[in-house]
Structures are given as structure tokens and as C-alpha cells.
Symmetry: C2
Subunit: 327 residues, 2 copies
């Protein structure tokens, strides 16, 4: 069974799998819709659906627009227990958690930039619905929604999909962000992310695009070339409390930004991750949910691994200009 | 000019380059020794040497075994100043530092497993010599020595080489490791890494190989499949104080481990990084220098980027067994 192990030096948690037979390779599987288990008509090749959102005007419940299934090769298992054990002075915790796959749409070849805004909105609505359902389990402490697109971003399936991992531990990365944001609020009584939005609204150096409700910009200290963040303009701590009124503007900006990245950078591999507050935090004046989009144009190498610093050869204001000016 | 920028959320430093014309691609350059600027006879294609270690029994000083040059496309520049400026509420620091390339040996096609132990020892001696020279500059706070081998590990040149980056800031990653190690020492009055060596000497579950002076093992919470650490068995805080007597045993174990990784995993890309104490720390009872070797078999994806957790499908004890049993 999978298990969490804690590195005693850094207190960093690692999920150790139980896949000794894993075959390493960077090419996604099922390149054709004929054999793809995520394509319509192949539903019996996957575990049963957790959630099905029907196609607009569908006559049959089998006619789905977006579908959520458990990951067939999960990093974590909901039937495991978060039991703590030791191995000498090392710590481990049972691999309890959830690992789901959100099949974004039925068409094997249609990624987010190719969908209608209405179709992207369904994907976002499904994200929210899964969060609201999983947060009922008090053993879960954090939910991460993310997408790996393309071989360089770790995608193992070609059919358009995103993933959800629910964890019994709040990740150190999230704790670090929460702490950093709180420090700013203690000092200024303002939200750090709202300050970013305001400074950028005035300076317009880092903006990729924006609408009434959301702003997309390259962060001042972007780790990766063309890294882009999408933030709600008004303060909101948690993604899963997003109102219906914000879903369409979010769909619009996500489709626009991913389209710009696709078209200006020759369809690169990318990841996006929704950064939100831990489940036991109801509201926060300092943390502000957002989406971080990371195109994979460079490799994380020895310098990054050895220091935790990043080296980004492209100034973010230049990346923003390139993306912004692309129509 | 390059500059350091601080992410206001995580306080993570990023080096922002000035290479807007960078061409993205993952294949190393100069695949043939005919055009390779690191090959003997092509010394005029690189900046002048900082250090040259002659070949054994060389008759001419041009007949080198290992050579150090400034990086032609440096992430940092020694002629820059570590001046602090702001951009609204964002912080930046001038891109002061050193970025050097260690050309490990003259032969374009000979990597560490293919060299003699004596030749590997020269590379390690040169690492030490560059550290001892650079630590004279009081503006430098940390030196990282690392190697990117192969396209998936971010190597941009094919000729066997490693790199050195000297920074005016102690990386957060290093601070975190120091703090974690100190916490263990406060509590136990022992060194955490020495404890790892002792527990492993008794249990022998994670050992890859060892000799009198060094132990190579897969860490209990390995982030990556086949990740391997090399530690001196006796407590030593800083790599650059390594005694002459330890250089040969280190060369022996590094050659052995990299050979095992090459042969058991189809010559994968890998990084290694020397983890050592910051320059202003003379001695430490809690930190213990070591080398971390990371083969690139999986991709860092959305889960890792979003949480700081890692997912490793291969249990480290199984990876160790595979490497150990390979002769």
C-alpha cells in the first residue's frame, strides 16, 4: 500500500508508491481515441464514475460532458488509514487520501482553449462540486486540483483531463504560502495578493489579460519562463466557495490564457494548480486563492534542486508583453 | 543584467536572467567532439581558464586533465553588485555571484563511471580548490557544486562537465536543511546524518554500496525513484574541508554509484548536488555534508509543484536492492 514518509532533514513529506513494476517513459498513453479509456463508449475500461455532468441537452445520462472517476493507479487510497508508525527514527503515515481524475470533455482532441466558455465552466463547476463533497470527510486536510498537460509536464494520458488529490496532511508548500501571506497582513492589514492586483492595475507591466472579475499576470519573481497566475480581483480565500457568477469569467480567462500560451509557445507542455486554503480554514483575510500555470520550457536542474532557488532566463515583464500582444 | 527577485508570498528567491532570445529545447549542444568548445584544442572557443589541472605526466601546460572556466552564459556575474532595490512592494537584488563550469576531463565521451578513480579524484580536488578560492570573497554566502547530465536533467552541453554557482544569499533550501538538522541535535545531542548512517549500518535495507569512509544509500523518504545519497561515515560539516585522505574513497564510491545508476537504468539523465554548510559557518555539530544524486525517470508535475510533496512510485528499499545487487 502507498505510504507517506517524512524526510527527517527537511520535514518534507513524500508519498512512496507500491509500483515496483512501473515502466518509466515520458510519452502519454493512448494517443488514439480508439483505445483511450477516457473516450465515450469506453466507460467500462475505467472505474465507475464518481460524478457525471451531462452534455447540454443530453437525452441519455450516458451522454456526458464532464466525468469524474477514481484514478486507476492512485497515489493514495481512501480505504487506507492515516495511521502513524515508525521505522527506527523515521516516521511514516498510511497512504490515506483520494486521487480522482476529471475527464474534462468527451472529445479526445479538444483541450481547454478549444472548448466553448460554457464547456470550460462545466469543468470548473465539477472541480467545485468534488471539493464540496470531499470536504465533508474530516480526515482530509487539503485538496489540490491540478492539470498535467503534455509529456514534459508528466501527463500519462493524452485525453484532456485534470486531477484531484485530497490529503490528510496540509502540504508544507501551502503552509509556507499561508505564513508568508499572513506576515504581510500582520504588517500592513492588507491582503498580499490584493496588493499585487492593485499594483499591477496601476503599472500594467505584468498583465497578460483581464476581465471584470479576474486578472492574469506573470508574477514578479516568476520561477519559470511564461509562468502565469490567474487571480480573482476581489478577495476570496477558498476556491470551493466560488460563486456561480464567477465561474463564467474564470472560464473565459482560463481559456484565453491557455490559448495564448499554446499559440505563442508552440503548444508547450504545462501544469496548472489551484492554490487554495486548507479545508479547516473557513475564511482568511490574508490568503487569496489563485491558479498558477507553469509552461515546461526549461528543465528543473541541479541548481534548482540544490538551492530551492529558480533560474528563469526570461524577464516576466517580457513574457507578459509577448502573451498580452498575442491576439 | 541578471537580478535576484523575491517572491513576496514564499520569500523564495528567483534569478531572473536577461536572455530574451533564449531558444528552448531539451537536447544538449555540441554532440560531436569536432565542434565542442570543451574539447582539447578548442580552448579559444571558451573564456580563459580559471584553473587548469594538468594531465598526469603532462609535458605541456596545455595538456590538461580538468579545467575550470567561467560560464559563457552566466546566471550571475561577479562584476555585478548585490545592491538592493524595490519595485513597488517587490524586492530585488543585483545579480552578483559566480557561475563556473568544471570540464571534468578532456574526453568528450568519458563520463565519471568511465574514468579511473585517480581521474575522478582530480575532479573532486578541483571542486575543493574552487571552493577554497571563492570563500575568500566575503560577499559570497554559499557555494553550490552540481552536475546536470543528459537532456532530462537540463544539460545544455554534452561534454562531461559540472558547474559551480556562488551566491550572495544562503538559499532557503539550505537554511531549511540546517534548521531541520539543528532541531534533531538540540533534542538528541547527536547529528541526524550520523544517526542515518548508524541506523543503516545496522539495518542494511537502504544501502547501495559503501567503503571505509563513505556510505551510499537511498534515503528513507526519497523524492525520486533511485535517488541516492553519498555521505562521509564520520561527521564532517563542510565539503571544502575534506582531507586528501578522503578524496580517493569519495572518488571510488561516486564512480561506483554513478556506474550502477547508468547500468541498471539505461543511462538515465541525472543531477547531483553537493549539500554543504554556508560559507560563514566554520563548523557544525548538526550538519553533515553529502552528495544527493537524482536520476530523472519521472517528471516533476502538478502535484509536486502544488504541494511541495513528492510522489515516488518506487519504494527506496527496492531501488537500493536493485542497485546493490548489480555488480
Amino acid at each position: 500500500m502507498p505510504q507517506f514518509r517524512k524526510d527527517p532533514v527537511t520535514s518534507r513529506w513524500v508519498i512512496i508508491g507500491d509500483s515496483p513494476d512501473v515502466v518509466f517513459g515520458h510519452e502519454p498513453n493512448h494517443k488514439s481515441s480508439k483505445t483511450c479509456p477516457f473516450c465515450p463508449g469506453h466507460e467500462n475500461m475505467t472505474p465507475p464514475s464518481i460524478l457525471v455532468h451531462p452534455k447540454k441537452g443530453a437525452s441519455s445520462p450516458a451522454d456526458w460532458q464532464t466525468r469524474v472517476i477514481p484514478n486507476k493507479f492512485p497515489a493514495l487510497k481512501i480505504e487506507d488509514t492515516p495511521e502513524k508508525t515508525s521505522d527506527g527514527f523515521y516516521d511514516r503515515v498510511g497512504g490515506f487520501g483520494a486521487h480522482e481524475v476529471i475527464i474534462e470533455n468527451p472529445d479526445h482532441y479538444k483541450e481547454i482553449p478549444d472548448l466553448s466558455e460554457e464547456e470550460v465552466e462545466v469543468v470548473l463547476k465539477v472541480y467545485r462540486e468534488r471539493c464540496l463533497d470531499l470536504r465533508k470527510d474530516p480526515r482530509l486536510k487539503y485538496i489540490l486540483i491540478f492539470k498535467n498537460y503534455g509529456p514534459d509536464a508528466g501527463a500519462s494520458m493524452e485525453h484532456p483531463h485534470s486531477q484531484l488529490i485530497a490529503l490528510p496532511i496540509v502540504p508544507s508548500r501551502v503552509q509556507g504560502e499561508m505564513k508568508g501571506a499572513e506576515k504581510h497582513t500582520e504588517y500592513t492589514e492588507r491582503c498580499l495578493f490584493c496588493d499585487m492586483v492593485h499594483q499591477e492595475a496601476a503599472e500594467k507591466k505584468l498583465t497578460v489579460c483581464s476581465n471584470d472579475k479576474f486578472m492574469a499576470f506573470t508574477p514578479f519573481a516568476a520561477r519559470f519562463p511564461f509562468e502565469t497566475w490567474v487571480l480573482p480581483k476581489n478577495h476570496e480565500a477558498s476556491f470551493d466557495t466560488i460563486s456561480d457568477a464567477l465561474l463564467r469569467p474564470l472560464a473565459e480567462i482560463l481559456k484565453a490564457v491557455l490559448g495564448k500560451i499554446k499559440n505563442s509557445l508552440k503548444d508547450p507542455s504545462y501544469n496548472f494548480m489551484i492554490h487554495t486554503v486548507p479545508l479547516d480554514i473557513k475564511t482568511s483575510t490574508s490568503f487569496h486563492w489563485h491558479i498558477e500555470i507553469i509552461p515546461h520550457l526549461t528543465r528543473v536542474a541541479g541548481f534548482e534542486l540544490g538551492t530551492g532557488f529558480y533560474y528563469n532566463p526570461i524577464p516576466p515583464e517580457l513574457a507578459a508583453k509577448n502573451l498580452r500582444e498575442l491576439t
